[in-house]
């Protein structure tokens, strides 16, 4: 497992680079332009644009109903936007999603997997859905990485929340995705399990150079993991930057205080121009 100090130091270096990046600089994995979603007359996402750089960890942060899950759903192709463009790994997600879906994956504690199948059966199904070779070896390997080897023959429904989250992560990493999208990856986990999950995600990102995009309410998690934060409120991106830069701009001690400032309209960043 990676140490806690090393990723933070690594993050700081990458944060400085990302903050100084021109928009069209290094390879962009996700490019979103003027993305809008209206449901039943409600504007869930209102004309947002952002990019996510290759090899970065980016967080979508915002209160309940800010539009994070709607945005992630559109990125995954589960939800069609009302307007706007999404380009992922060089392909238009509205017309060519099947070209890039094998190269990405997703994990969320709120999206289930068949509870009556064993962990091994679930992972075997998903390994086949992603068209992997040597399915048995891959299932064993990812189960070993996630420390769930001893659960492979147990029905998913009989596992604890922490074990289920590990299985969900194993499913999300089964195809070694270049882009991993996570919706509150450590929700419902106790502090020890949550810390373990963050460490695993960090080490996966460092080992493979994958790009991670996550939605989270846990500001400590975002500060620890992420190179860049997109702050959402009422369907729009109201601020963005590295955690350190946001904290400095709002003159606060940590990201949680920044979150509360934005949620309660108390102060504004010194240099964000939407």
């Amino acid at each position: 497992m990676a140490s806690k100090q090393q990723p933070q130091a690594l993050n700081n270096g990458i944060n400085q680079i990302i903050d100084a990046m021109p928009i069209n600089g290094p390879p962009v994995v996700i490019e979103v332009r003027s993305l809008t979603k209206k449901y039943n007359g409600i504007l869930a996402v209102n004309c947002i644009s952002f990019t996510v750089q290759r090899g970065s960890i980016t967080a979508l942060v915002g209160g309940n109903g800010a539009g994070k899950t709607t945005t992630l759903s559109m990125l995954l192709g589960l939800l069609l936007p009302s307007e706007g463009e999404i380009n992922i790994l060089g392909a238009d997600m509205l017309t060519k999603r099947h070209l890039v879906l094998p190269r990405m994956n997703f994990s969320s504690p709120y999206v289930g997997m068949p509870a009556r199948l064993t962990v091994g059966e679930n992972l075997t199904v998903y390994a086949n859905l992603y068209g992997l070779d040597n399915v048995k070896d891959r299932v064993t390997s990812v189960a070993k990485d996630l420390q769930i080897l001893d659960t492979l023959k147990i029905q998913l429904g009989n596992l604890s929340s922490g074990q289920k989250t590990r299985v969900s992560l194993a499913k999300a990493l089964i195809n070694e995705p270049e882009l991993l999208i996570l919706d509150e990856p450590t929700a419902s986990l106790d502090p020890e399990s949550a810390d373990w999950a963050r460490g695993h995600l960090e080490s996966y990102q460092q080992r493979t150079g994958a790009t991670l995009l996550l939605a989270s309410h846990n500001m400590g998690e975002v500060e620890r993991l992420c190179h860049k934060v997109l702050m959402m409120k009422e369907g729009t991106i109201v601020d963005e930057g590295s955690p350190q830069r946001l904290i400095a701009n709002y003159d606060r001690k940590n990201l949680e205080e920044v979150f509360l400032d934005i949620a309660r309209d108390r102060t504004h960043s010194r240099d964000f121009v939407p």
């Binding site: 879906l101 990405m104 997703f106 969320s108 997997m113 009556r116 998903y126 859905l129």
Partner: protein
């Protein structure tokens, strides 16, 4: 204390009243089964009152009809319930962020439906011999033609039902059972179509299953395989399968517009 007890009971009644009120298929289902039973057994009674010697001409006509009807029923149920299983498991979102395409899902549902149907009807087909002295395999190659036509019709109905469940949510899950029984009284499973009122007969003849059950009686009573009936079933089946696939894909598209792939529940 007694007041609180009634309040709790009332709360549960209210909970399920809200559920009923929010789901027209659930309300429809309440009225559906008595109506269905009345029509089916009413027509059976009418027929046997007029043709009491009919069964003596072909032993096993009713048993064979029951078995073939079960092929249609199980084929439909095998497809639609397999789809509903994914919703119960809240697994649809996971499936469709993988490279799985909706058309591949349809193909998989058809294969699983076939396997489930074989598992369902095979024991009954064999048990009919010791219990009733009916060997359904005496239908010969015609049985294969009947079986596959009924399978395809079951798939078509199952795809429409699955599409509607995707559109209206699990409140419509009873359609898995209800939809196929809608046609049972008019498709001539246990009696010829001519027993139906004149105005109802044209509706019977737009159902592929009607051609199959009439074809089955032609084999059992007259020892002939009626090719016109066979091609009638195949033709209508192709049309219905095309419509079923089209409705499923359209509802899948609408589910992506409305965000329902991640939000399926009661």
């Amino acid at each position: 204390m007694r007041g609180l007890l009634w309040k709790r009971i009332w709360a549960m009644v209210l909970r399920h009243t809200y559920l009923l009120r929010s789901s027209w298929p659930r309300v429809l289902e309440l009225a559906y089964w008595p109506t269905f039973q009345l029509l089916l057994w009413g027509f059976i009674t009418t027929f046997f009152l007029q043709h009491s010697s009919w069964l003596a001409q072909a032993a096993g006509a009713l048993i064979s009809a029951v078995l073939l009807w079960d092929v249609l029923f199980r084929s439909n149920l095998g497809l639609s319930l397999t789809f509903v299983e994914e919703i119960w498991a809240r697994n649809l979102g996971q499936l469709f962020i993988s490279p799985l395409r909706p058309t591949e899902m349809i193909a998989a549902l058809m294969i699983i439906s076939f396997v489930r149907t074989i598992i369902s009807v095979t024991p009954a087909a064999f048990l009919a011999l010791p219990f009733f002295d009916v060997w359904v395999f005496d239908l010969g190659i015609a049985l294969v033609a009947f079986f596959f036509n009924l399978m395809v019709m079951g798939w078509a109905v199952g795809l429409v039902v699955s599409g509607l469940i995707l559109r209206f949510g699990l409140g419509a899950e009873s359609l898995c059972w209800l939809a196929i029984f809608l046609i049972a009284p008019i498709t001539g499973i246990y009696y010829p179509v001519k027993v139906l009122p004149d105005w109802l007969e044209p509706f019977a003849w737009i159902l592929p299953s009607t051609y199959i059950f009439e074809g089955m009686r032609a084999v059992l009573f007259n020892k002939i395989f009626n090719w016109n009936l066979f091609f009638g079933a195949v033709g209508f089946n192709l049309v219905y399968l095309f419509i079923g696939i089209g409705i499923f894909l359209r509802m899948f598209h609408l589910a992506r517009v409305q965000g329902k792939l991640l939000q399926q529940g009661e």
